[in-house]
């Protein structure tokens, strides 16, 4: 059986990292931005574990454990903050937060509006459950 060579792992790590970075820069939804930042970290974790396997030691795994811990702390702070921001503006759109900027600079307004929120399909209505209807005793056919 051929072992998978190192550069395959590194390619996957790089792709994950790049996707995360692109999403981080391009998205406007706060939560999605943070998911993308986490995705960058996953790319890093793949890199580290691949290198550790290549070199036959466990340093990469140890490194990864620490990264996961720190990422969890960061996510905790970020999500708490996002919750606070959502309560104050009622939206997760990051472009609503532009009060702090250089003097004389106009806020960046996106020409393209966000897609309209999808109307939720009403849940199918079931007939309300009541007492079990009275069954006529059927005569046995046997």
């Amino acid at each position: 059986m051929n072992p998978i060579p190192l550069h395959h792992f590194l390619a996957v790590g790089a792709i994950l990292f790049a996707l995360g970075a692109i999403g981080f820069l391009a998205r406007r939804n706060l939560i999605v931005m943070f998911l993308c930042a986490e995705m960058m970290l996953q790319g890093v974790a793949i890199n580290l574990v691949a290198f550790a396997r290549y070199r036959g030691n466990l340093e990469g795994q140890a490194f990864t454990l620490f990264i996961l811990t720190v990422a969890a702390c960061e996510a905790a702070i970020a999500l708490a903050l996002i919750l606070m921001l959502y309560k104050s503006r009622g939206s997760l759109d990051v472009s609503l937060w532009q009060e702090l900027r250089e003097p004389g600079q106009e806020p960046t307004i996106d020409e393209e509006p966000l897609p309209p929120p999808q109307r939720e399909e009403p849940l199918p209505k079931l007939t309300p459950a009541g007492p079990e209807p009275h069954h006529h005793e059927e005569p046995s056919h046997v």
Partner: protein
């Protein structure tokens, strides 16, 4: 068998290492105690700032003892090295030398001052005091780890330990939208920068199979020493990404964009904390990494010069970033009309000056930076403290509301002027002494490199000239603030209201006057600080050995 030896070594080393790590351990105890007290409703009526002050004081005393020696079970770096055989702590994760202890003293003194300041301005009220001081102490522990890092993993953890509390501190004024926005921007940019830096770390650690900084430095030298044949895109990309992470913490141009927004949105106390402590720790980290990679060598003493090939790349890179940072900070500060934002750009510019010192990659440069950090602590903390005091009275940080303030609040305005003049670098104030040291180090570096590497010498001379021009340019905005406060008509006269003299509480005035006095007589501490800088020299010698490829 292997496990048994490992455990034995651990049993030997951990108690000794804990003595060297004592200040941080004291701070950690402080954090736990503060959090536990939060559980009891009886303590809700207490302002826990005094407790935080006490723990920081004990930690500072421990660090003081580490520098001067005295108590047996707290080793000085020298004793530690004699006993353990190396300066490494906790299986090579941290390093314990005079540079570490110097930065600890710096950070703990600053934490003490900032807690005192927060007690005076009353930014955390009684109920929230436990949270606020937990965050301050936690960030201080992280910064101190950053300053003593010896391993890429600890570099990342230190940066995160310092950053996470800072994010929460930036958003501490919960009611204010601007504060939330500042925290949001800080978290978003910080998270992105951490991801990028980690990718760089994974590339470097994977490429060389080690994340231990001295070994990494030797590996760099071996790789770069081969010339064009040794060109390695992974190496380049990894270094670039790690530098982005450090540059972000340092708010070096072009990774500075978070800094003005965060400073404007956060309260002035927090902005002061971030501007001094965070920047000091980031500079210390940059110094460690740059010295580990670039390795200073003494060109002067008799031995035939062995040029570390990394020097040819690191000196121009650091010089370019330093020039960019200083110039951009000074130019952008000119257009600001919010005092905190103006001070944020001034902070960026000062980080640029300090990076100029590091760009020499020599002992003199590092010593000048340590010198600069002390002066910078005094004057920048002073400036932010006055902004906080005046905010408590006028409720505003806009420059427009500072018009003619000298007639309403003379003590505050005059001390603020001293701090601004010092930031500008007017002799004989602290800022002048510090800048003088940096420029002298640049000149000395240029002379020393002159024979072995004329190009580097030119780079340093260019940096020196541009640094001088920058100092002059910065006069424009500092003087503008002073003119607004002293010469302009009072706001009340313009608006036709009755001018009210502002209250100047005695403790606040005392705080400002003590700092201003320290800034004024800083010149007197020249030689003791110089001596302290010389004591940091073992760091320089150590990296010297590494540069030559021998084992530390």
């Amino acid at each position: 068998m292997f496990l048994k030896t490992a455990i034995d070594t651990l049993q030997d080393s951990v108690p000794r290492d804990c003595g060297a790590f004592l200040p941080e351990l004291v701070l950690c105890t402080g954090i736990v105690v503060l959090l536990l007290l939060r559980l009891f409703s009886a303590f809700d009526r207490w302002h826990l700032g005094w407790l935080a002050l006490g723990f920081t004081g004990i930690a500072l005393a421990a660090a003081y003892d580490q520098w001067f020696g005295g108590i047996d079970w707290i080793p000085t770096p020298e004793q530690f090295r004699a006993e353990a055989g190396s300066a490494d702590l906790f299986s090579r994760m941290l390093v314990y030398d005079y540079f570490t202890v110097f930065l600890r003293l710096f950070l703990l003194t600053f934490a003490l001052l900032i807690i005192w300041l927060s007690l005076l301005t009353g930014i955390p009220d009684r109920e929230d005091s436990a949270d606020f001081y937990t965050l301050i102490l936690g960030a201080t522990v992280g910064m101190s780890v950053m300053a003593s890092t010896n391993h890429l993993l600890m570099m990342f953890i230190g940066i995160e330990m310092a950053s996470l509390p800072s994010y929460a501190l930036a958003g501490y004024l919960k009611g204010r939208r601007q504060s939330s926005e500042a925290a949001l921007k800080y978290v978003v940019y910080g998270g992105g920068a951490a991801g990028v830096m980690l990718y760089g770390i994974s590339l470097l650690a994977g490429r060389f199979g080690t994340a231990y900084l001295p070994e990494l430095g030797a590996a760099y030298v071996a790789s770069v020493g081969q010339g064009a044949a040794g060109f390695d895109p992974i190496l380049l990309l990894g270094t670039l990404f790690v530098m982005i992470g450090i540059g972000f913490k340092l708010a070096a141009v072009p990774f500075h964009f978070w800094c003005p927004d965060v400073f404007e949105g956060a309260s002035a106390e927090v902005a002061g904390f971030l501007s001094v402590a965070s920047k000091g720790a980031a500079l210390a980290l940059l110094a460690r990494v740059a010295l580990a990679l670039g390795g200073i060598r003494t060109l002067t003493t008799g031995a035939p010069p062995v040029m570390n090939p990394m020097v040819h790349y690191l000196v121009p890179t650091l010089a370019v970033f330093a020039i960019l940072t200083a110039t951009f900070g000074n130019l952008a500060a000119f257009y600001q009309n919010n005092l905190k934002r103006l001070l944020a750009y001034s902070t960026i510019a000062h980080a640029g000056y300090m990076m100029m010192g590091l760009a020499t990659l020599r002992g003199e440069g590092v010593r000048a930076v340590l010198f600069y950090l002390i002066a910078y602590l005094l004057m920048n903390l002073g400036a932010f403290a006055i902004v906080a005091f005046l905010r408590n009275q006028t409720g505003s940080e806009d420059l427009a509301d500072y018009r003619g303030l000298v007639r309403r609040s003379p003590w505050m305005v005059i001390t603020l002027c001293i701090f601004l003049l010092s930031l500008l670098g007017v002799p004989p104030l602290a800022g002048f002494v510090a800048k003088f040291q940096i420029f002298a180090a640049l000149l000395k570096g240029a002379q020393d490199y002159a024979t072995a590497a004329p190009t580097l010498s030119t780079w340093l001379i260019v940096t020196l000239v541009l640094g001088g021009i920058n100092s002059v340019v910065s006069a424009v905005y500092y003087v503008k603030v002073m003119k607004t406060m002293i010469l302009d008509e009072r706001v009340e006269d313009v608006e036709g209201k009755e001018p009210v003299r502002l209250r100047e509480p005695v403790p606040s005035v005392a705080f400002a006057v003590v700092l201003a006095g320290a800034v004024a007589v800083f010149l007197a501490f020249w030689s003791p600080l110089q001596k302290a800088g010389d004591q940091v020299a073992p760091l320089v010698k150590q990296s010297d050995r590494i540069a030559k490829g021998s084992q530390p």
